[in-house]
Structure formats: structure tokens, C-alpha cells
Amino acid sequence: MEEIVSDKKIDIKGLKCPYTFVKSKLAIEGMEKGQVLEILLDYKEASNSIPKSMEAHGHKVLKVENINDTDWVLLIKKEKD
């Protein structure tokens, strides 16, 4: 599978909900439709809730990956302004 290149990366390690989503949402708002946001986080609950909220906002979740003992990487494609 082809590697997806993100257009913007944010590191929200250390943040808890709801600020995990607040930060992610502000980041994606500043992007163009079709671009991909990469989110690095270490708050487990957010690895479920951010993808769910992003889909509810009309965006597409491309990847949710647990990369080590503590961290997750999410890839979200902006599909709605």
C-alpha cells in the first residue's frame, strides 16, 4: 500500500479530552479540502473519540495506529469546510 503523506502534523501528547479534539479540530479547520492531518497523541480514549468526532464533522479517517506502548498516530483527510 502506498504511504500516505500528511500535509500537516500536530503533536498533542500530554493533552486530555476534550482538548485533544479541540486542538485537532482547530488544526483541520486551517487546512484545505483534500489535505491530510497527522495527529500524534498519547491519550488512549482520544484514539477512539477523535476519529468518531472527525467522521461526525464530515472528514475521513484514513488511519488509526498504535505505534508503541503509549502513542497513537491518526491520519484524517479533510473532506468538509
Partner: protein
């Protein structure tokens, strides 16, 4: 607009909402609202709009805080009795949210100053307690084409309506002329259960935020009537009156007139 970390925290419950987001919060932060009165209605309206982070909040009121206000005017306190209401409210709102530019105006609103005062503002909120002011504000907003969120309370009943000049009714379409002084209850009779202005002012603040955000429906061509004793909300349709003296097709009121009458205006 770049929010500070503190602002992101402060407004996070707004930003999370799909209807608001960072862009909506930016609109709120740029909004300039002009509030008539810092009393029963003005206190909750100003309090919530300050919490919401509006850019500029002007308020005009010529009265000082009295002990009898404190049963309902929640921005004032026992410690601010005797202080101008606009200064007392400014201290309260400023402590809640230092982001908001609060403009206190301690003088009487009149036909000679209102158009200049509201010229730089996006939305006018009427929380006055007397008919001459209510008609003056309506006519000025129609002439200046400023959205107006109007509220009124008496005893156990409250009214809210939103006037969008050129797009719907105005207050005179609803009640063309002021009631004759004999029909207006004197201030002594006009008791009010203290929570009522909180509910009506809350509705006015909500109408204002929706106007700023451009989301949802506002009370355009609608009068909302709340009966606190029965706990009912009733929406009454109000048509724009083509013969309205101020917003009709051939208006007779083209400039502001003298609104003074023998009403109690406390």
C-alpha cells in the same frame, strides 16, 4: 485568527460544536454588540456574552445600583450599591473574561445620540424597561438597519423578538403605537419574580450569538411569549406590516421623534 492556549481552553466547549468551531469563535471575538440597559435583562445578557467572548460589549445606563435591584440584577452586588450600574457591571464582566472590550456609557439614551452610538456596532440588544426607549430603539435600528434583539418582562411574563430591518417585522409592526400612559402599569405595580429576567436575558443572549454565527433560526417575524407561572413558551407569528409607520412601504417616521411621555422610567 490565532487563539492563545488560554483562549483555546476557555472557548473549548464552543470550538467542539460543529456549528461553531474555531471559525465561529473568531466571529464571536470580532462581534461588536450594543446593549441598552444594565439592569434585569442587561445583566444576564452581558454576563453570557462576556463569557462567550464577544469582541466589544457596549452598555448604556444612567442609573446607579440600588439595593432593590439585587433581587434580579445579577451583575451587581451589595458592595456596588451606589455605583453606576455600567461600572458595577463592567467590574463583574471584566473579572469573568478580560478578553472582552467593555464600553460603559453612563448617560441617557436619546433621539439625538442613539444613531451615532450604534453606528459602529453589529447588533443592538434592548433590555430597557420603558416604552419610550423601546420605541426609540426600534425606530433607530430600522433607520440604521441594525439587527435588534428585543426583550421585555413584567411580573411573570416575558417577551423576546428579533428585528432584522429589511427582512421581517419591526416592533411597530407588532404594536404600532405606545400604549397610552394610563394603560401602562406604574413601576410600583410592576413586580417581577427575580429569575424571569435571567430566562428572557438568556434567550436574548442566545439570539445574539446565533445572529453572530449565522446559525439556526432567530425570532424573525415571531414574538416568543414565556409564561413563568404556567411554564409555557408560545410563539406568535408577526407579519411585517406594509403600512408600518417606520418599516412599511411609505414610512411616516423618517427621523427620530420625541418619545418622552409621562411614563415611569426608572
Amino acid at each position: 485568527m490565532d487563539f492563545t492556549e488560554d483562549q483555546i481552553m476557555r472557548y473549548s466547549r464552543h470550538i467542539i460544536l460543529p456549528e461553531v468551531g474555531g471559525k465561529g469563535q473568531e466571529k464571536i471575538a470580532k462581534a461588536k454588540v450594543f446593549m441598552i440597559g444594565a439592569g434585569g435583562l442587561g445583566c444576564p445578557v452581558g454576563y453570557y456574552l462576556t463569557a462567550a467572548g464577544v469582541g466589544t460589549l457596549a452598555m448604556i445606563d444612567n442609573d446607579d445600583v440600588e439595593l432593590s435591584n439585587l433581587q434580579r440584577q445579577i451583575a451587581h452586588s451589595t458592595n456596588t450599591i451606589g455605583m453606576p450600574k455600567v461600572e458595577s457591571a463592567q467590574a463583574t464582566f471584566g473579572a469573568l473574561n478580560p478578553d472582552v472590550n467593555i464600553v460603559p456609557l453612563k448617560f441617557r439614551l436619546s433621539k439625538d445620540n442613539i444613531l451615532d452610538l450604534i453606528a459602529d456596532y453589529d447588533i443592538v440588544i434592548d433590555g430597557s424597561d420603558n416604552f419610550p426607549t423601546r420605541y426609540l430603539v426600534n425606530d433607530a435600528c430600522v433607520i440604521a438597519k441594525k439587527p435588534l434583539v428585543s426583550g421585555a418582562i413584567l411580573r411573570f411574563e416575558g417577551h423576546v423578538t428579533t428585528v432584522l430591518p429589511g427582512d421581517g417585522h419591526c416592533y411597530r409592526c407588532l404594536f404600532e403605537e405606545m400604549p397610552p400612559p394610563g394603560l401602562v402599569p406604574s413601576c410600583q405595580e410592576a413586580g417581577v419574580l427575580g429569575v424571569l429576567p435571567g430566562i428572557i436575558g438568556g434567550l436574548q443572549a442566545m439570539e445574539t450569538l446565533k445572529l453572530i454565527l449565522g446559525k439556526g433560526d432567530v425570532l424573525k417575524e415571531t414574538l416568543l411569549i414565556y409564561d413563568a407561572l404556567k411554564t409555557t413558551f408560545r410563539k406568535v407569528k408577526v407579519r411585517k406590516n406594509p403600512e408600518c409607520p417606520v418599516c412599511g412601504d411609505n414610512p411616516s417616521i423618517k427621523e427620530l421623534q420625541d418619545y418622552e411621555a409621562n411614563y415611569c422610567s426608572s
